[in-house]
Amino acid sequence: MKRNSWQEYQKEIADDHYFYVRSCIRQNFFPGSEAAFLNILRNDLGRDVGEEARHTSCTGIGYHSDIVPLETIMTVVARQFAMMTEAGYEHFTSSCITSFGIYSEILETWKEFPETEERTREYLYKATGREFKKPKSLAHTSDIIFHHREQIGKQAVRPLVNVETGEPLKVVEHIGCHYAKLFPKSGIGGSEFPYVLAGMIESWGGEVVDYPERRHCCGFGFRNYLVQANRGYSIANSQKKLESMAPYKPDFIVANCPGCTMFLDKWQYAIAEMEGTTYGPDGQGIPVLSYEEMAGLVLGYDPWELGMQMHQVAVEPLLDKMGVRYDPAAKYLARNGKYIGQPEEAAVNLRCTSQPIIRKL
């Protein structure tokens, strides 16, 4: 793809010493991703990442659903920054795109309206006795993986190449709206041609698929999916994207937002069950990976260690293409060896459950 404009949008990403805050929902849907990020940074790249168990949700979901007022979310954000300051860090990084948007937006608001920062400092001090310094740099965790992509590429065990054909894997990248649509300058590559995931794919041997609805929102939209009756327009947006990408026969989708990764994965199941439509080859789904899972596979991590058995769309076809060795029998075993249960067989995970289960009619 002839995209040069991404080079005009660059941002400062620190080399080391990150303070890490987690996402509310990723632990459930992609439970290995955050651990993989820490392992890659600490063990594979030798970087220092600080964490604080007492940090909380940024309350972004509540904020975007009209439950949490602006003053409250600012104070919560200030508390996260206080945790960072107390731990002796200056470079803040968040696992979640919604949070990243919230942090960017609040820092920008404080810059434009300094009185709101003053008030927030006061609220935080009254409520908790804490004080904070604003971070020197703010990055999404995908920015940090992007920053280290060449080094990861050098350490790659399995590049993004189809081992049977030797061809690069075709990868659809999906960027969370709040990564760069709020502030194009805050995203690598800007908002129209973001390069943060595309850069990883290209560095690791894959080929980026540019398809007509690439820039379209996945449909997450907070209050839209929270109310069951409204989910029709969340799912319709994901469907629009899936229909648009299907002709390119992508080997997998990679996303950098917790919500997008979840929806692009789970809506494929819902669409298959509701309408009988699937978008991958042979009636299967298109596997959806987080960028940490993608990096983890490239670095040779075990897929079940990465939590990939929790995906709705089975990842085995992709693992086979990449030549990843895995133990099918271990898919639904916890780390302590206990059976964790498995999903019913469905169109998007056909033949990828441990033992055949007869569908209830």
Partner: protein
Amino acid sequence: MSKRVIVIGGGVAGMQTAATLAGLGIHPVIIEKGDRLGGKLLNWHKLFPTFTPAGEVLDTLRRQLKDVEIMTNTEVKRIEQSGVVLNDGRLLVSDAVVVCSGFDIFRAEIKEEYGYGIYDNVYTTVDIERMLNEGKVHTADGHIPERIAFLHCVGSRDEKVGQKHCSRVCCITGVKQAMELKELFPQSEIYNFYMDIRMFGPGYEEMYRQAQEEFNIHFIRGRISEASETIDKRVQIKAEDTLIGRPLKMTVDMLILIVGMKAGASNDRFAENRGIELYPSHFIRPRNQFVDNICSSAGNIFYAGTVTAPKNVGESLNEGVAAALRVSKYLED
């Protein structure tokens, strides 16, 4: 000895100014940064609303410049009271200066959402003029386009790219090119996406109507929000048909961006002279919009053409005559 007047820029306004000055017995010197005279018209095919070949206008102007001193490949760095300083540091002394440095074409790459320079079948009106001149209008892979979309106001009336002004001539350019392409490809469907259609010149409205009624060119009121490439290298566009109130999408073989006029990059440099002022758009602001619309606040600096605002060729030519007459009056006094 006759008085010497420097004319900055050898486009239509500069050529007309110099020709008129020479006719009045004054010694003009045209300083042109390019390697030949003609400015933007050198790359233009035909002119609205009469479809006159641009070359004809240039030929007429060139014939009037037989005795005029011309310096090509020369660029002016600063304008001073005593003359102009060139990029190489030389000072050219003169009794008066006429700034005819024109405009810059808006760089369509800046509107990233349209993918110019990224997608093969996204073009600008400038590309189309070139292709018409070369006699080769076709899609990137050499096919006859079955469906073409023009998008008006690219780099005009757009705060996001610092271009709040209307570039005026693009509406009629879009209509003209739509008609030219329809003549080349009678079977193709042509859609013009616009915000407003502004037909300010003589014969323009009539031409717009002719495009609609006789050429069956479709006009859809709505600005394209983004363009993307399809698997067969066509271009998918999204807009709202605002007259219906529903989003609309279609795939086209060619998307043509009707690019606007941006203030000349040299204007900022020239405005270091205290007698030269700029509009917020960075076009040069004349001393007065009515009776002195070709004059600066410095007595011996004058303007002609699009250096002060977007204009069509006829208006620029008229200003060339007007500026020359005012220079001559100034030199007499």
